[in-house]
Amino acid sequence: MSHNILSGDMPRSFILSALLLVIFVFLAIAPFAAPAGPVVGGAVKALVMIIVVASFDVLIGYTGIISFAHTAFFAIGAYSVGISLRDFEAELPVLFVGVAGGLIVTALAAGLIGFCSMRVRTVFFAMITLAAASALSLFVLQFYALTGGPDGLVFQIPKIFRPSNIILTHKIFDRTINGTFLLYYAIFIVCGVVFLFLLRLVNSPFGRVLQAVRENEMRAEAIGFSVLIYRVQVSCIAACCACLAGGLYALWLRYVGPDTTVSLQIMLDVLLMVVIGGIGTIYGAVVGVAFFVLAETYLRLGIAALHEHAVGIPGLDALTDPNRWLLWLGLLFVLSVYFFPDGVVGTLRRRSTARGKGAAKSKLSTIGIGE
Amino acid sequence: MPAPGTVEMKETALALTDVHTHIGQFHILQGVTFAIRKGGVTALVGRNGAGKTTTLRTIMGLWRASRGAITLQDRLITALPTAEIARLGFGYVPENMGIFGKLTVRENMILAARSGRLDRDRLARLFGYFPPLEQFWNLSAGHLSGGQKQMLSIARAIIEPRQILLMDEPTKGVAPGIIDAIVEAFRDCHREGATILLVEQNYDVALALAEDVVLMDGGSVKFAGTMETFRSDPKLGESALGFAAARDLNIPPPPGRPVERI
């Protein structure tokens, strides 16, 4: 049965399976874990980012498309939800309309971008998406009336999801089951379904065509697949996943702003997570996100602790300044691309297979991002 | 020049030993072994897809041999960078001619002259063989016709004396009148002492120039020997060339060509 749910794409490594199970269980019971606030917030961020990273992996790892516009779609989703809930009644129908609106805009934009990829080389395409994402980010910052500019928007969420909505009168594990719980599990389920959907997608005939296109575009075209149609489709699908994730995140935060959606750092975070997790694995998204969330918390704490001791020592003091978190992120990034190109999942899987037959080739090095 | 009647020592200029080349997952060269006599002209023949171009590219280091050894007069050149291999005395005419279209004919030639200066006399001689080069000296090479580009490509390879000339179909797309000029130019180089390895689909040319033949098929060498032996065996000609015509050709060697004695 698990074979079916996971669309035949088994973890293929004992350690990986164990890891995934632990993460899954943790995410499933997060609202009951103590302390409630930051842990649950972290869990939601993780759930949402898993979808963003997994859909990004479909693009980069399976289709060979590098799109810096991916987080722009996340932003579109978030802002659609935010704007509709702010300007209209904070009720479920409005929420659905907002999400639908975001998805439509996303699908159109992604389709257009996918269409553009036809005439340009992969590398040019990457740069175009970067430019487009920058333009969107500026747009968000400047159209204050619509988007709240640099300050962002705050809004109410539908009553059913509010903490004031008590669902069960008696407490479970000392926690009040209210609207927040409902929201958390709604997000959990939606993300779970989307994740399984992506897994199914890449293991389906459609997914195999994507990989064929990635390996050798001309041959795929010669066999009869319209490369353009596939690219447009996968662009739309991945973008819509990111859009949905953005909407969910905005709903949880009850806030949307440039810092949570369009900043370059989010794109970098996604890149880091996909590289560390493992490109072209989908499961890599889960591992990468988990690693990142943990690192962000604990590594930061560690560096801050070092900082306490380093006061007075000139170089070390500045290096461990908590504001320099990006420096360490960048270094981590560079090191993982160098020494760890398969990511965690890729390496674990290779080790498993190596014990059996010959070692599989590194995904990162076989991705011929060609013309 | 050894005295008549004595055994000629065949010094090897270039030797390939069990060379394999992989392009991606394709195993193109599957154990290529042959040697080229110093100062000789060797024709590398075979069907399309036999691996002839790949062999030349592997020698030049443009594609890396995954296995095997390539030696230039006892010097191992298999793993050297292309530029170093070239500097050891190679002249190379690639299959696609390798013309720099946005540079002028003059600039193409200047690049080819590694010593930094164009030898006036030699250039004049090349102009004699290939008049369009002089005519279009300051024109962008991209504007030349196919045949003219081929002339430029060859001229680039021989603007300075080279030890070894690797030619990949130098007469492809060239009008018959020009072919004679090309053959003459090659004969000049041969007289200078250059070793020539020639991939040629034009068998008249191959037969006119080559003393030795290497026949390739399916990525390996099926025959390596003298032109006489090759021509005398009709099966070889047919299997390699796909038509029986080779057997019927009876082109006499050009005057002045040194007669081999074994």
């Binding site: 040019f124 175009i128 590289v275 | 190379y92 200047i110 024109l139």
Partner: protein, 330 residues
């Protein structure tokens, strides 16, 4: 000089002339138009100086350096430091001293950026030749690290940068107010362009580079170690970026650690429009983008960047390789 101007120039130059002409019809006042045009030209030239290096690197070795902005940043900060030390010549009323101070600042900026370029090539780029994905990722990572180091050394606050006395202020040309500094930049920029052109067309090195952009393999087969040439080009590109950084910071009057990444997006747009590996393309594209930006900033500031992106997309649809696309032989 190179042989006669061929057809490939006609359409791009036509486009380049069309933009200001169109702008004139939207901006009724000739004086305003003149001011904006000079501003655009000056910005365009600075963009060109910063972008040319990256364009050649990309065209020659197919290397995408998303960390190019780091060279701009380092150059800008070096210039700031030097100009800070040369308070005297900067505030002097002698034009020659003013110019000299900029020369000194630029010279050191070029040196530092060039050295950083060497380091970057050795440590970061060399390992990932041929792999675009890794290149993008690693150079991005490298760029972040350098930007953070800059913040560490100089702090995150914005620094102000004052123009030397005789180069600041405005001139009046045909009733329009033109900033003196912009005229200065245009003069310098044209000088750089001419110098580049001479190096590329009159020297052997330039010849190798021009040939290498078209067919790297053949250049190697002719006996030239193109990887060594590449290091030089990389360093030169980095140095130019540093130089551009100084000029840009002076024109903005301030700088912070993000100056490089800010301009990187524009530079990438310029390279794509102009066609990688072509100095002419980079030049025309830089002017195009900057002029467009200048006019749009006046006419409809909120959509300035978006319109630039739109311009880029339309040009790429028309000519996928860029205005002066280099057809690679292989």
């Amino acid at each position: 000089m190179r042989p006669s101007i061929t057809n490939e120039w006609v359409r791009p130059v036509g486009l380049l002339l069309a933009v200001p002409a169109l702008a004139l019809t939207c901006i009724w006042s000739p004086a305003t138009w003149l001011t904006l045009t000079f501003a655009g030209l000056a910005s365009g030239i600075m963009l060109f100086i910063m972008a040319s290096g990256l364009s050649m690197i990309f065209g020659l070795m197919d290397v995408l350096n998303f960390g190019h902005g780091a060279f701009i940043t380092i150059g800008a900060y070096t210039g700031w430091v030097v100009l800070g030390l040369l308070g005297g010549p900067v505030s002097s009323t002698h034009l020659s001293l003013n110019v000299l101070s900029i020369v000194a600042a630029s010279g050191l900026a070029i040196l530092c950026a060039g050295l950083l370029g060497l380091l970057f090539e050795r440590v970061v780029v060399r390992k990932v030749y041929g792999d675009h994905l890794k290149q993008i990722l690693i150079t991005l990572g490298g760029a972040i690290v350098i930007e953070q180091l800059v913040m560490m050394i100089w702090g995150p606050q914005e620094k102000t940068l004052g123009l030397p006395v005789r180069l600041s202020g405005t001139l009046s040309i045909a009733g329009a107010t033109i900033e003196r500094y912009r005229v200065f930049v245009i003069v310098i920029g044209l000088a750089v362009l001419v110098a580049m052109h001479l190096v590329l067309t009159r020297t052997r090195l330039g010849l190798i580079v021009r040939a290498g952009v078209q067919d790297r393999e053949m250049v190697e087969a002719l006996g030239y170690r193109i990887d060594r040439v590449f290091v030089l080009v990389f360093m030169a590109g980095a140095g130019l970026a540093g130089f551009g950084g100084v000029l840009w910071a002076l024109s903005e009057g301030s700088l912070n650690s993000a100056i490089g990444s800010r301009t990187l997006v524009l530079i990438l747009i310029v390279i794509m429009i102009g066609g990688p590996g072509s100095i002419a393309g980079t030049f025309v594209a830089s002017l195009l983008v900057a002029l467009m930006g200048s006019y749009m900033a006046y006419l409809a500031p909120k959509v300035a960047l978006a319109s630039t992106v739109l311009l880029m997309v339309s040009i790429l649809m028309w000519r996928p390789g860029g205005l002066f696309a280099q057809e690679k032989e292989r």
